[in-house]
C-alpha cells in the first residue's frame, strides 16, 4: 500500500512538472529547459510573499502563484518573443541561458540557505492515514489533488474553451492560425503563463513538503524524461510518462539499488528514444519538424 502511495506522490510531482514542458512545447515547439529554475523561482517568491502576508497564508500562496504566472508571461514578452522565427535550437539555448541567469539571481536575492516555506507560512505538514495501511503527508495529498485538478482543468480548457482550441490550433499549424486571425503572441504568452503557473504549483508544493534549496532545479530536470517518454506534445502522455518514470524509480529503490534510481529516468528515456522517439502519445511527424 505504502508503495502505491509513494509511487502516486512521485508520479504527481513529475506529472505536474512535466505538463509545463508539454504546454510550451505543444504550442511553440520550444523545449523550455529553464522550467526547473522557474519552478524554483516560484517557491522562492512564496517565501517572500509569506513574509509579506504572514497572517494570511492563503493570500501569500495566491500572490506567489499569480506572480509566477506574470513571470512566465514576461519571460515570453521580453525574451522568447524575440526568438520566434529563429532556429528552434537557438530558442532552446536561450531557455538554458535564462535558467543560468535565474539560478544566479535566486542566490543573489534569497541566498543559498536551505529554506522552509511551510514554516514561513506557519503550516505543519500533517500525516494522514490512508486506508489504514499507509500514510501520506498533507503536502503529498495536496500534490495529488492539485495535479488531478490541474490536469482536469487543462483538459477542459484545451477541449472546450475558445482560447484552448486556439492554443491547439496554433500548435498544429502556426501559419494557418495566423491566417485565421489568431494572434500568436497572445497564445504563446498564454502558454508560457500557464506553464509557469503549473510549474509554480509544483515548486511550491514540493517546497512545502520537503523544504527549498537550489537542488530543486535538478528535480525539474528529472521530470523531463517523463514528458518525453509520454510524448512531448501530449498531456495524457505526460501523465502516463510520469507514472512510468515514478514507478520505475520507486521500484528501483525498493527492489534493486537506490543509487540506480537517480539514472533510471534517463535510462528509460534513452530506451524510449531508441524504440519510439516521439513518445507514447506524441505525434509522429514531430521528428521531421525539429
Amino acid at each position: 500500500m505504502q508503495l502505491a502511495i509513494n509511487i502516486a506522490v512521485l508520479a504527481a510531482i513529475y506529472a505536474l512538472i512535466a505538463c509545463g514542458y508539454v504546454l510550451i512545447y505543444r504550442v511553440s515547439r520550444v523545449l523550455n529547459l529553464a522550467h526547473g529554475e522557474l519552478m524554483m523561482l516560484s517557491a522562492y517568491l512564496l517565501l517572500t510573499t509569506a513574509s509579506l502576508f504572514s497572517k494570511n497564508p492563503l493570500i501569500a500562496l495566491t500572490a506567489a502563484v499569480f506572480l509566477s504566472l506574470c513571470v512566465g508571461v514576461l519571460v515570453y514578452l521580453f525574451l522568447m518573443r524575440r526568438m520566434t522565427g529563429e532556429m528552434v535550437l537557438a530558442a532552446v539555448l536561450t531557455t538554458v541561458a535564462l535558467g543560468v541567469l535565474l539560478r544566479g539571481l535566486v542566490v543573489l536575492i534569497w541566498s543559498a540557505q536551505q529554506q522552509n516555506p511551510a514554516q514561513a507560512l506557519g503550516w505543519a505538514n500533517y500525516s494522514i492515514p490512508v486506508f489504514g495501511a499507509g500514510r501520506i503527508s498533507a503536502a503529498g495529498a495536496a500534490l495529488i489533488a492539485v495535479t488531478t485538478l490541474i490536469y482536469a482543468g487543462l483538459f477542459l480548457f484545451l477541449r472546450f474553451s475558445r482560447y484552448g482550441i486556439r492554443m491547439r490550433a496554433a500548435g498544429q499549424n502556426p501559419l494557418l492560425a495566423a491566417q485565421r486571425g489568431i494572434s500568436l503572441h497572445v497564445i504563446y504568452a498564454l502558454a508560457w503563463g500557464l506553464s509557469t503557473f503549473t510549474g509554480a504549483m509544483a515548486g511550491i508544493l514540493i517546497s512545502l513538503d520537503s523544504g527549498l534549496d537550489s537542488t530543486m532545479v535538478l528535480i525539474g530536470l528529472k521530470a523531463f524524461p517523463a514528458a518525453l517518454v509520454g510524448g512531448l506534445d501530449s498531456l495524457v502522455g505526460a501523465l502516463l510518462g510520469a507514472l512510468i518514470i515514478a514507478a520505475a524509480e520507486v521500484l528501483m529503490i525498493y527492489y534493486v539499488d537506490a543509487l540506480l534510481s537517480d539514472v533510471v529516468p534517463f535510462l528509460v528515456l534513452i530506451l524510449m528514444l531508441i524504440v519510439r522517439p516521439w513518445g507514447l502519445f506524441g505525434t509522429r511527424e514531430e521528428l521531421d519538424r525539429v
Partner: protein, 263 residues
C-alpha cells in the same frame, strides 16, 4: 467603381535577389469576384502572399509599389493585423487543423473587429450544410472536398470583407469543384464580400468571376471582363485547352495579342 483592393506597380523580391513580381497592378471592387490566372511560377501565389502578409516567412519583401485596402497601404504588414482588417486567406494546402474537429476548426477562427461570431457560424453552416453532419469529425479524416468546404467555412467565420482563395480546384474532382465554385458565388451574393480567386484552372475561375487577370513571369499580360477573356483567342489556346498542350506565350513565334502593360 470604388476599388476595395488596389495593387499598384507591386514588386516583390525573394532573398534580396530574385524578383518574382515585377510591377503588377490589379484591382478588386466591392462585391466582385476577381480571378487571377497563370501557370506555375507566374507569381499568383506570391501576389496573394503579399496581400495577406506572409512574404516574410520566405525571406521575401515588397520592394516597390503599394497594396491599398480601403486606402490603407498593407505592404509588409504582419499577417494577424491584416486578418483583423478583414482580409482572409484560404491557403493552397494545409488549410485546416488536422487534429481538431470540424466544430473546433470553426471555433479557432477569430472574427474581425465588430463581426458577430454567432451569425457568421450559422452562415457557414447554411453555405455548407454537409459540415453540420460532420461536426464532430476530426478534420484530418475529411475528404479533399470536405476539407475545402471546412477551409472556406472557417474563413467565413473570420468575417472577411476580402476573401483570398488560393487554388480552389487543386486536387479535387470536377464535380466537386463545380459545386464549390457555385458556393463562392452564393457567399458573395449573401455576404456581399469581395473574392480574389487564384487559379490554374481557368475554365472554372472564369465561369464565376466578374473580371480576370492573366499573369506570366511576374507581369500582368491580359486583363478584362471574364466573359471577354473567356473568348480571347490566347486564353482559348493556352488556358482552356483549345490548342492541345499548354505553352507559354513566349514559345509562340508570332503572337497576335494586344499587350497592355500596367492596365
Amino acid at each position: 467603381m470604388s476599388a476595395l483592393l488596389r495593387i499598384e506597380k507591386l514588386e516583390v523580391v525573394y532573398a534580396r535577389a530574385i524578383t518574382a513580381i515585377q510591377g503588377i497592378t490589379l484591382e478588386a471592387g466591392k462585391g466582385e469576384i476577381v480571378a487571377v490566372l497563370g501557370t506555375n511560377g507566374a507569381g499568383k501565389s506570391t501576389t496573394l502572399r503579399a496581400v495577406s502578409g506572409f512574404l516574410g516567412l520566405d525571406d521575401a519583401r515588397v520592394t516597390e509599389g503599394s497594396i491599398l485596402f480601403k486606402g490603407d497601404n498593407l505592404a509588409n504588414r504582419p499577417p494577424y493585423l491584416i486578418t483583423k482588417l478583414g482580409i482572409v486567406l484560404v491557403p493552397e494546402r494545409d488549410k485546416v487543423f488536422p487534429n481538431l474537429s470540424v466544430v473546433e476548426n470553426l471555433a479557432a477562427s477569430v472574427p474581425a473587429r465588430g463581426a458577430d461570431r454567432k451569425r457568421l457560424e450559422e452562415m457557414a453552416f447554411t453555405f455548407f450544410p454537409k459540415l453540420s453532419e460532420l461536426r464532430g469529425r476530426t478534420a484530418g479524416l475529411l475528404s479533399g472536398g470536405e476539407r475545402q468546404m471546412l477551409a472556406l467555412a472557417s474563413a467565413i467565420v473570420c468575417g472577411p470583407e476580402l476573401l483570398l482563395v488560393d487554388e480552389l480546384s487543386l486536387g479535387l474532382a470536377p464535380v466537386v469543384v463545380e459545386d464549390l465554385a457555385q458556393r463562392l458565388v452564393e457567399i458573395r451574393g449573401k455576404l456581399g464580400i469581395t473574392i480574389l480567386l487564384v487559379e490554374q484552372n481557368a475554365a472554372v475561375a472564369l465561369s464565376i468571376a466578374d473580371r480576370g487577370y492573366v499573369l506570366e513571369n511576374g507581369r500582368v499580360v491580359l486583363d478584362g471582363d471574364a466573359a471577354r477573356l473567356k473568348n480571347h483567342p490566347d486564353i482559348q489556346e493556352f488556358y482552356l485547352g483549345g490548342a492541345g498542350e499548354r505553352r507559354s506565350y513566349r514559345d509562340v513565334k508570332q503572337y497576335r495579342r494586344s499587350r497592355r502593360w500596367y492596365g
